[in-house]
Structure formats: C-alpha cells, structure tokens
C-alpha cells in the first residue's frame, strides 16, 4: 500500500495559464442532436473550454504559468533545484520537455529535470514526487509544471471525448518550510489498461495507417493516435474507487470529512463530481468546481481548479484534500495542511 507521509514540506505558490481561444459546447450541433445539447451540457457541466492554437503546447502554457508564479512570488530561478514536468502531451518523444523548460525558464544547469507521465491522476503522483525530492537533504525547492493539451489528441468527431476536454498549464512550487503533515495514498490497477487508451505507440507501431480516421463504436470517429475512452467503464471505476479512497485516507489520518476545508476533485465531469459530493456527505461549498469554464483538463485540472477558484483564499492554514483518477487505471487522494499558499489568478496565453 502506497501511503506516504511528509513533514516540513509544502506548497508555497501556484499558478495556471489557459489558451485564449474559447470553444462553446452549445455549438456542438454537428456532433450531438440539437435537442440533446442543453441536457448534455447540464449533465457534464461544461459550457465552454479553452483550446490551444496549433503552435501552443502544454509546455508553453506551463512556461507562462511558471513565469507568473516566479514574478508574483519573487522567486530567483537559481533557487530551484528540481523541475518536474507532468504531461501526456509532451513536446517530443525525445528529449524530455522538462529539459527544454529548464533552458527556457533560465534555470541553472545544476537543476535536476525529468518528465513524468500518467493519466488524469498524474498531478497527485507528480506532487508526491515533488514532496519527496523537497524532503531530501540538498534540495530546497521543486517546481512542478503540470500541463495538458488533450485537444491535440482527441478527435473533434468523437462525441464521448470532444465535449469534455480542455487545455491548461499549471505551476506548483514545493519547498521545505514550516508546514504540517501531508499524506498521500496512491493506487493502480493495470487490468483496466483498455478503458482509456491511445492504441498506437511502440507495441502497435505508428504507420501511415495509424493516421487514418475510422468510424468506431457508436459512430465516433477516431484514428489510432487519438484517445479512446469507454465512458461507462471509467464512470464505474471512478464511482467505485474514488469515495472509498477518500474515506480510507480520512481513516488512516484520523480525520473526518468535516475537517476538510476544501476538497478538490479532478474535474472529470459535473455529474460524477456531484455523485461524489452526495456520497461523501461533504458540504458542496467546500468543493470548488471550474469545469463549467475549462472542461476536463486531464492531469492539470486539480491545480487549475485551485488557481481558478481559490486564488486569495489560501492565506492562513487550511486542510486541503485532493482526489484524482484516470488512465492506467490509476487513482489516489492526498490531504495536506496548506499554509499561506500564494495562488496567482489564472492567466491566458
């Protein structure tokens, strides 16, 4: 069981950047029958999403978020010891995008950089990695950049995925300091590999045929380089694992749901989050949503929700819980005492 506890490390600051272009789900008439659009929007809770231009990558959104964070908090680039980049939409297969960002952000050559890739649960796993490095002797600051541009890997004629996904980049600065206890519980079930998948890669080599769009289940159009998701199985996975993982974390840390000031969910869809809120009996005003504005931004959705909804609200001490789940299958929850975390408002690229 991966239950990890940290002391004396925490999140100093956070920021987020979204593309300037807004796509409205009310304009999805080409994909969904007009009479069902309003109902779909109400159910998934997504009115609009931000979509990156062709020449804007997750790394660009993260770069801008990082610059904002460093400016707002007067952070010397030379003080960052580790740079982590968590994404499923990196710039290249080689080299790691974190290396490009080290150079672009003007971080010293002594900075340790590497990429992490996982599913929508990725922020939690990457944040635990950031906390782990920040706990080590010799490391004071870790900059975690988590960004995704799913618009580049989702087919616009896939009615399961296209109405959901939006793009965003975020930055989280983790450092040693006078922080209380943080506990992460992280889980994996690889038997669910086919529930959320991009088929082409190394095992199924990319050929010219991989780029051919084909009609798939229920009339959805997709090529082999684009995301497939079995919505019903993901839903089943999430409702059976997420509330349990939160209850287990509370039990292990001797806390109750009433101790939690804010519970931030991966913004998968509104229907699902409402289900969790009901099941956990947590007061809805402690569960911030930004899905109506930005959609599901995959692993970036947890830090984006904090930047969007909690800017200026994390002064003082707050008990904050994070919960995320996604491809792998992979899921987890974390609870931490946040102290004077400076959250910059969301900026645009």
């Amino acid at each position: 069981m991966a239950k990890i506890t940290f002391h004396g490390v925490g999140i100093k600051a956070m920021s987020a950047c979204v593309p300037v272009e807004i796509v409205y789900n009310k304009d999805l008439g080409y994909l969904i029958p007009e009479e069902e659009i309003e109902k779909t929007i109400n159910n998934i809770g997504i009115e609009q999403r931000r979509i990156a231009a062709d020449d804007v990558m997750a790394s660009d959104l993260c770069f801008k978020a990082a610059r904002q964070l460093m400016a707002d908090n007067d952070i010397d680039p030379g003080s960052i010891d580790v740079l982590l980049f968590m994404s499923q939409t990196a710039d290249y297969r080689i080299p790691a995008t974190s290396c490009l960002l080290q150079h672009r952000l003007g971080l010293p050559r002594e900075t340790m950089c590497f990429d992490i890739t996982l599913g929508c649960s990725g922020y939690l796993f990457a944040l635990s990695t950031a906390f782990a490095y920040a706990s080590m002797e010799g490391i004071n600051r870790v900059l975690l950049l988590d960004g995704e541009t799913f618009s580049k890997i989702v087919n616009r004629r896939d009615k399961v995925d296209w109405p959901l996904y939006g793009d965003a980049g975020t930055a989280t600065l983790v450092e040693k300091g006078d922080y209380g206890e943080s506990t992460f519980m992280l889980n994996t079930d690889g038997s669910g590999e086919n529930v959320l998948k991009i088929h082409a890669g190394m095992r199924n080599p990319i050929t010219a045929d991989s780029c051919v769009e084909r009609e798939q289940e229920d009339g959805n159009i997709r090529n082999d380089l684009e995301v497939f998701m079995d919505g019903m199985d993901v839903f089943n996975f999430a409702i059976s694992k997420v509330p349990k993982s939160i209850k287990q974390l509370l039990k292990e840390t001797g806390k109750t749901i009433d101790d939690v000031d804010y519970l931030i969910f991966h913004q998968a869809n509104r229907f699902m989050m409402d289900f969790f809120v009901k099941k956990l009996k947590i007061s809805p005003d402690r569960v911030p949503y930004c899905i109506h504005k930005y959609g599901n931004t995959s692993s970036a959705s947890v830090p984006l929700t904090i930047a969007s909804e909690l800017a200026g609200k994390l002064d003082g001490v707050h008990e904050v819980m994070l919960s995320a789940f996604g491809a792998g299958l992979s899921w987890g929850a974390a609870i931490m005492q946040m102290r004077d975390c400076h959250v910059s408002p969301v900026i645009e690229y």
């Binding site: 229920d218 019903m232 839903f235 699902m272």
Partner: protein, 77 residues
C-alpha cells in the same frame, strides 16, 4: 431486492418518460430519452442502491429492465 422497487428506481432516472410506461419487459435502449448519460445514472443508481459494480458491458449486454435486474441480483451479496 425486489423487481418492483428496481423498476421504480430505474424509472426515477428519466425526466420526460412516464414512469408507468416502464415495465420489466421494456427494451430500455429503445426509449426516446435513453442516452449514454442516462446509462451513467443507471450505473450510479445500481452502485448507490445495491452496492454492485455495474460495467459498460453489463449495460451493453442487457436489453430489457429485467435483464438489468437479473445481472444486479446475481451480484447482490
């Protein structure tokens, strides 16, 4: 669990469909209001009311409300 209650729980998931028209023999995918989102609410209802993990294949493999009920009942502890 009983079938009557299950049908009632199932009918509650629809906004516009008259609950009285839903019977054990109803081919639920033929209902005008049926959609992938209603399918998610079926999965949620079965989790909440019966504590049974219902998968996409369970929905795909069922045609009538009775079929759903039988699959749930076979897994109720």
């Amino acid at each position: 669990m009983n079938l009557e209650q299950f049908i009632e729980n199932f009918a509650d998931l629809f906004d516009e469909t008259d609950p009285d028209t839903i019977k054990a023999t109803t081919q639920f995918k033929e209902l005008e209001e049926w959609s992938s989102l209603v399918a998610l609410s079926v999965i949620a209802m079965i989790d909440e009311e019966y504590d049974v993990e219902f998968r996409g294949d369970d929905i795909r493999g069922s045609n009538t409300v009775q079929d759903l009920y039988d699959r749930v009942q076979s897994r109720v502890e």
